[in-house]
Amino acid sequence: MNKYLVIVLALCFHFVNAQKEPNTTYQFLKKIDEINYLNDAKNKSSIDSLQLIIDNSSNDTIKGYFYRIQAKFLISQLEHDVALKSLDKSIAFYKNANNSLGIIKSMMNKGGVLYQKGETKKATQEYVNALAIAEKKGYKNEIAALYKNIGLVYYSQGKTKEALAYNNKALAIFNQLKSKKDIAATYVNIGNCYFDDYQPQNALLNYNKALKLSKETNDNQTIAKLYNNIGSVYINDLQDTIKGIDYLLDALAIKKQMNNQNDLIIQYNNIAAVYLDIRKYDLALSYNDKAFELASKSGNLEELINVYDTYALINSAKKDFKKAYDYHKLYSKTKDSLLNIDNLKAVEEINTKYQTAEKEKQLLQKAAEAKKKTTTIIILSLLAFFIAIVGFLIYRQQRLKNVQQKQEFELQSAIAQIENQNKLHEQRLAISRDLHDNIGAQLTFIISSVENLKFGFPTMETSIKNHLTKISDFTKTTIVELRDTIWAMNANEFTFDDLRSRIYNFIEKAQSVKENTAFKFSVDESLKNNKFSSLEGVNLYRTIQEAVNNAIKYADATEVSVQVKPKEKGIVIDISDNGKGFDLETIDLGNGIVNMQKRIEEIGGIFKIKSELKKGTQITISLNK
């Protein structure tokens, strides 16, 4: 029924789902990858027909998986050589697909087959190779399974200590992974080791742990194996043969159900050995015959040894020593081939290689750790360096901002102060202007009043008239001074043109008094646009005015000349007359000349006066411009 179901499923898979993604195929293969199906010999044809379909597939992972399933089936049918070929194909396909997990699993199966065939050297090599890949990829489950299998190899060679060590390593990982089935299988192996070391209580303890877990997971295969092992403990170590046989028969019933050929051989052989112990030779022979039939068919040397040994013991017990001897020879021959020295050495060698590789790996790991440490230190130093630079830059930026703000604040304060002072000055000057206007009006009023008096009283006494004229002239002079001051204050700067027109006004008035005096005022063309500040302008004007006034008033000059000429980095103003002159050494210089000198020095100029009796006077003003 199952067979037809698989064929139908396979055909459906091929024709209907041919175009579907490989995942569907994988799910289908996973469905048939279970013990009950693979242990059933009847499923051979369906698996063969599935192979035809899988071979046409282009997915190497699927192919690898199928050939591993096929190998499992063949192992259960004890066709180890064919199973090995399938596993080689599986590994090749997995390698094409670069599927590490598949490679490891198939290598593990191959190691198992080789182990069963007695080729422990090759089996160990396969396990170690698979272990290297699993460790590189970090597949914990597979690492533990391989430890367990290596433990089995040691166990088969009687090295229970090493076997226990590997099984304990496997158990630790399985416990981490919480894989009940694998934990149970490992407990079985540990129990076996204790059993071989004649520690029945420890063996039973581990078997019972395994039995509990196997029942939880409904793992019939392991349950059968455990019944068998527990039976062996009771028979061999606890001397309770009847209870032991009950366990063995329970195990046989489960194994028959499962139809695992290898397990059946072991079971038949065990029962035969027990019956031999209790002197039921016929029963022992019949069970051993069944075991022999299956073992010789599969070429399972390991089990064949036990079968031959049992035959030898039965015949010996039956006093048929010739047959017993023959079987013993067969036993020895088979055992030698299985457990030869080369094999032992090779396994040891591989183990040593593995250990060396492990140590090298640890050394490499340490070197890598040291390198990592150095790299970390470098990175941390770089980070610290950059952070320090960033900190320094931020600090410098802040300091710069503070300094700049201070400078700007100082300058702004100075500007504000100057602005205030300027405003104050402007206000004062405005008040001054108002005062000047007032003074101007008052002076004009005085002049007109005096003139009116003179005009209204033409017969007034001469002395009074002279006084009034003096007052009027004095007031007029003051008003002229006032106008000059207002003129100077109204403009910010002057040119020589402004100065000339002002001086001409003054000269015109002077000429009206002294008509026979010739005046000359000349300015060099290049200096016409030269500018002066109001103070410079007014001081120059008043100095020239004073000089001309002196020439008219005291020197009786007929020619007065004012010449403005350029000089290197400056201006020279010459005021000369042809008047009577004076002796600078003997004459006492009046306020007029002293004031002129003061005014010129006030504007940063040099004042020089040269005079000779009857030769006139020459005043030279030098200004740096």
Binding site: L411, N422, L468, N492
Partner: protein, 90 residues
């Protein structure tokens, strides 16, 4: 991890460059502002100088004016004296 470290280092380098550029920019802005303020200060100073000169001219006139007025009062006093003399004679 390596990528994060490289990212952090690159970010720090960029930050350093940004800070250096910001520093330069701040200096430039400050330089411009100081130049502007100095120009204002200069113009205000020259204005102050002009105002000072005008004030000096005004003060000069006022001191002259005071002495002129003193002389004028003296002259008026003499005139009044003379007028009173004439009036007393009459």
């Amino acid at each position: 991890m390596d990528k994060i470290i490289i990212l952090v280092l690159v970010s720090l380098s960029l930050l350093v460059i940004k800070l250096v550029m910001a520093n330069k920019r701040i200096k430039h802005i400050h330089f411009q502002k100081m130049k502007q303020l100095k120009d204002v200060f200069k113009s205000l100073s020259s204005k102050q100088e002009i105002l000072n000169q005008k004030a000096s001219i005004s003060n000069d006139f006022q001191s002259n004016y005071k002495s002129d007025m003193k002389k004028l009062s003296e002259e008026i006093f003499v005139l009044q004296k003379r007028i009173f003399e004439l009036l007393s004679k009459k």
